[in-house]
């Protein structure tokens, strides 16, 4: 076992993890934060997207020891109590989801995109979300949600 310290959604944790465990397993199983999903497990689908030290990453491709000392934000870290993050509010209002499995990853990628480019062009939205697959919606409403989230985030 390997001792690691990570900060998740602002809360520090000291954990003893298997050295070959992934960050995704730690988040879901050790911390019980099951909002982050496992889709493919090999970095193709983006369902497990979290933000680590300000960058979006696939949690399924990060080994737990690699996350030592890092600051991580998961979907659970966005809302402030009952008040949704503007991105969550936009997806909710526009209906940018159907089954919802890809949604946490979509929202985390949107978070990373808007932090970098508050007013993304359509092409930038396309590039920003290129690592997130949705098998239900056909993406149209997800795009609308990102545009709306950009408007809301800028106030």
């Amino acid at each position: 076992m390997k001792e690691i310290r990570i900060t998740v959604n602002g809360k520090p944790y000291e954990l003893s993890v298997r050295p070959h465990a992934t960050l995704l397993e730690v988040i879901r199983e050790d911390l019980g934060l099951t909002g982050t999903k496992e889709g493919c497990g090999v970095g193709e689908c983006g369902a497990c997207t979290v933000i680590m030290n300000g960058k979006s990453v696939n949690a399924c491709l990060v080994l737990a020891p690699e996350a030592d000392g890092k600051e991580i934000t998961t979907i659970e870290g966005l809302a402030d109590g009952d008040k949704l993050d503007p991105i969550q509010q936009a997806f909710y209002e526009i209906g940018g989801l159907q089954c919802g499995f890809c949604t946490p990853g979509m929202i985390m990628s949107t978070k990373a995109l808007l932090a970098d480019k508050p007013e993304p062009t359509d092409q930038e939205i396309r590039k920003g979300l290129e690592g997130n697959f949705c098998r239900c919606t056909g993406y149209t409403k997800i795009f609308e949600s990102v545009r709306e989230a950009s408007r809301k985030s800028r106030g």
């Binding site: 497990g41 979006s56 491709l61 396309r126």
Partner: protein, 271 residues
């Protein structure tokens, strides 16, 4: 450390190739992975007007692609890197890892071949410099020994009056492997081509330079005729596989189309 575990240890940079391979049991069980990201300074990206660009082994694709130095002096490289995978993968993956994985379709390879990158390989005993043109030996095979690491990729300063472009063909615009990748780089003297470098990905056991296509243009003007001749040479010289991604004939035809398109783009680019 890699040496003492013989083949049972692998270096880990971004992990975006290694971890899926371990999960899929595509390689023998490893006893140890050595995380190179813990080595201070190995992620440096520096530029020197005489030595050129130096990319450290653990510099991520995002870091290189966004580096103002790379954007200013090596726009061809920055553009090629944005065609790779997704933001999440580019935030972790490294160019060194892309090269070490040595898949024929590696998106960084044609550009590095065209820009004549030099790799610094190091082990405990010392180091050697290997031109990237001599690095790949087959699909997923390179000259890198078990106990060696690429610690640095060096790219020479682009000569004056040079320009280059990487074009990638894949069925999907994102998250897809190249069916054909073409990098073209031309140095002009007056109207004629003083140096021409054409490199292809995904159409041979390794990423390759196309010597015949290059010599078809050397000393000539870039015009429709010379471009068609070079594209024809590239297309007849490549040796692609037939697989579920694309048929051999299709890949050869697309080498013609993409080489022509790349060179035409360079012809029109003002210097």
């Amino acid at each position: 450390m890699l040496g003492s575990y013989k083949g049972d240890a692998k270096p880990l940079a971004g992990g975006t190739d290694l971890i899926p391979q371990i999960k899929a049991r595509e390689m023998a069980a490893l006893r140890v992975v050595v995380d190179l990201k813990a080595i201070p300074g190995l992620d440096a990206i520096t530029y020197d007007a005489t030595k050129g660009l130096s990319i450290g082994a653990t510099a991520t694709v995002t870091a290189v692609e966004r580096s103002p130095l790379v954007r200013q002096y090596y726009p061809m490289l920055a553009n090629a890197l944005t065609t790779m995978a997704s933001p999440q993968v580019r935030n972790r993956a490294t160019i060194t890892g892309n090269i070490c994985s040595a898949v024929p379709s590696a998106d960084s390879a044609p550009t590095l071949l065209a820009m004549e990158a030099i790799l610094r390989l190091q082990n405990q005993k010392g180091e050697r410099l290997v031109p990237i043109t001599q690095f790949f030996t087959g699909p997923r095979q390179t000259v890198l020994a078990n106990d060696e690491l690429i610690t640095e990729i060096r790219i020479p300063v682009p000569p004056p009056k040079s320009c280059g472009v990487y074009l990638k063909l894949s069925p999907r615009k994102s998250m897809d492997l190249a069916v054909v990748g073409v990098a073209a780089f031309v140095v002009r003297e007056g109207e004629t081509c003083k140096d021409v470098r054409i490199a292809l990905g995904a159409v041979a056991p390794t990423p390759i330079r196309e010597a015949r296509a290059e010599s078809a243009l050397l000393g000539k003007k870039l015009n429709d005729e010379s471009i068609a001749e070079a594209a024809g040479a590239a297309s007849s010289e490549c040796r692609p596989i037939d697989d579920h991604r694309a048929a051999r004939e299709y890949r050869c035809d697309m080498v013609y189309v993409l080489t022509k398109r790349a060179l035409t783009q360079l012809k029109e680019e003002a210097l």
